[in-house]
């Protein structure tokens, strides 16, 4: 009897230590990631992250927002890694020393959506840029994300090559004591037909559907809203498969030199796993409503 007690007394602290160790260890293997709404809303992360945990033990806390806000989280060191889609801005992020390296993970494409009766007759246009020019010419309603997201960044780039004359709105604010301008390009004299709503992709699709308007969307969110909901939407794809509609996603670990508290090693490991053959094949085989959404870069 006494002996059993003694054994118990010896074992209990051991168990306690193991438990605490386990908790601490478990906590240690959790990283924070800021990403765009499209990776989460499409359901891709729900497939990737459990496999990641199985393979590496890394758990990822996901914060889904617009690309602008996700990059901002990276700049501020709120997260360990970012997973976004705005290549130029990702490059700038690294140039400014906020991130260590960009890993090309996958790509999908943007589509130009519009009401099925196509009031601006853009379905026959030769390119995405020409389609936008057609919308501007017909002054057909166009809904813009207007939220500095990856999609909004691309939309502004498309307007730039469309030949439509643009207006650039500048707002002057003070950043770190220095005057900085925030720029925002949109078609000139478009008050009546160009609506900038500053909301996420899903909301923008619904807005465009409600207003019988055109909009630019990533394919994943469109498929999700078109086929994944009971209510459905009328919007249809007007333009696709254009070189300028290509939409690459990259993952970037946050620079530990700038933010010593970030879990850089784990973030690197996560990025490395994303471009590993296994993750790449998971991405390639991911289907939503029977449709492929993302194309891996290293497959």
């Amino acid at each position: 009897m006494k002996r059993r007690n003694l054994i118990l007394k010896a074992i209990l602290p051991l168990i306690a230590i193991l438990l605490i160790y386990g908790v601490v260890l478990g906590e240690d293997k959790t990283i924070k990631m800021a990403t765009t709404t499209s990776t989460q809303a499409s359901g891709l992360l729900d497939v990737l992250l459990p496999e990641l945990e199985k393979d590496t033990g890394i758990r990822v806390k996901v914060f889904a927002k617009g690309t602008g806000a996700a990059i901002r989280d990276g700049i501020d060191g709120n997260v360990d890694v970012i997973f976004v889609h705005a290549k130029e801005r990702e490059k700038k992020f690294i140039r400014e020393g906020c991130g260590t390296k960009r890993y090309a993970v996958m790509y999908n494409d943007f589509v130009i959506l519009g009401p099925s009766d196509d009031p601006a007759h853009i379905q026959g246009q030769s390119s995405a840029a020409a389609a936008l020019a057609g919308i501007a010419k017909a002054e057909a309603l166009f809904i813009s994300r207007g939220d500095d997201s990856g999609t909004h960044t691309r939309e502004q780039a498309l307007w730039k090559i469309s030949g439509v004359s643009l207006e650039v709105r500048k707002t002057e604010i003070l950043k770190k004591g220095k005057k900085t301008e925030i720029c925002f390009a949109f078609p000139e004299n478009s008050m009546a037909w160009y609506i900038s709503i500053g909301q996420g992709m899903g909301k923008t699709i619904i807005y465009a559907d409600e207003k019988h308007a055109y909009t630019l969307s990533d394919r994943g969110t469109y498929i999700k809203y078109k086929y994944g909901r009971k209510a459905g939407i009328d919007l249809q794809i007007m333009r696709e498969g254009d070189l300028f509609l290509n939409n690459p996603y990259g993952v970037i670990p946050v620079n530990p030199v700038r933010h010593p508290h970030v879990k850089h090693e784990l973030a690197e490991k996560f990025a490395g796993w994303l471009i590993s053959p296994k993750a790449q094949s998971l991405i390639a085989n991911y289907r939503l409503m029977g449709k492929q959404l993302f194309y891996p870069c290293n497959f």
């Binding site: 617009g66 806000a69 207007g146 500095d148 709105r169 604010i173």
Partner: protein, 231 residues
């Protein structure tokens, strides 16, 4: 700290430059909040009056229900109104969704209980003797009501102020029913939410500072009508 000082100076920069976009946002905010406060008061004050002075069955339950409605989340109101005015529903043909009118409808639902309950509270605090004195002096019901209204005006205007503060600071209804369309339904709060989403915190806080300054000005006006406190 840097964020606050930067934001403060940016707010001054925005005001000084009379930025047309900021002006439009401020105008939409004031207009929408003003209209909804006006209509909510037009309905809520008489409603509060009737409930406070009426004696009918279920009065207490009615007051409890009104008090409960104070806790109605803006998202619920937004969804409720949305389900009536979206293109595929009953009132879809009116094309109300994503207009300022839609915001006004939602906001009236939001603040009507505030105006009504605070009016009830204001009137209930008025000494019963005012009413009796007025009536013994030969006042009819309408005149008696005016006397009471005069006595309760401090509390009633406080109700309107609370309601106005609620709508001008509200973001859920404006976002869901207004849709944050630039130049049409973008209000100060939805603009702030957007700037936060974009990661432009300085602009968001700057707009917040402008909102507070404006509210201060409006409360000065209200205070003028409120008169001096008796206490």
């Amino acid at each position: 700290m840097q964020l606050l000082t930067d934001s403060f100076i940016s707010a001054i920069l925005l005001i000084a430059s009379l930025d047309p976009e900021v002006l439009s946002i401020v105008w939409v905010s004031l207009k929408v909040s003003g209209i909804s406060t006006f209509f909510a008061s037009l309905m809520g004050v008489p409603l509060g009056f009737l409930i406070a002075y009426g004696s009918f069955k279920g009065k207490r339950i009615l007051i409890i229900c009104l008090n409960t409605m104070l806790a109605l989340p803006t998202v619920v109101i937004g969804l409720f109104v949305y389900s009536f005015i979206s293109r595929r529903s009953i009132l879809g043909s009116l094309d109300l969704l994503y207009t300022q009118k839609a915001i006004v409808i939602g906001q009236i639902i939001l603040i009507l209980p505030i105006v009504a309950t605070l009016t009830i509270a204001a009137i209930s605090r008025i000494d019963e003797r005012y009413r009796k004195t007025a009536m013994t002096l030969g006042a009819n019901r309408w005149q008696t009501a005016c006397v009471i209204f005069r006595e309760a005006r401090f509390g009633i205007i406080a109700a309107v102020i609370a309601a106005f503060g609620r709508v001008i600071a509200e973001v859920g209804i404006s976002m869901m029913l207004g849709g944050n369309a630039k130049g049409f339904t973008r209000t100060m709060t939805t603009a702030m939410a957007l700037e936060y989403d974009k990661g432009e915190f300085i602009l968001a806080v700057a707009l917040g500072i402008i909102l507070l300054v404006l509210s201060f000005g409006i409360n000065l006006i209200f205070n003028f009508f409120q008169g001096r406190t008796r206490a």
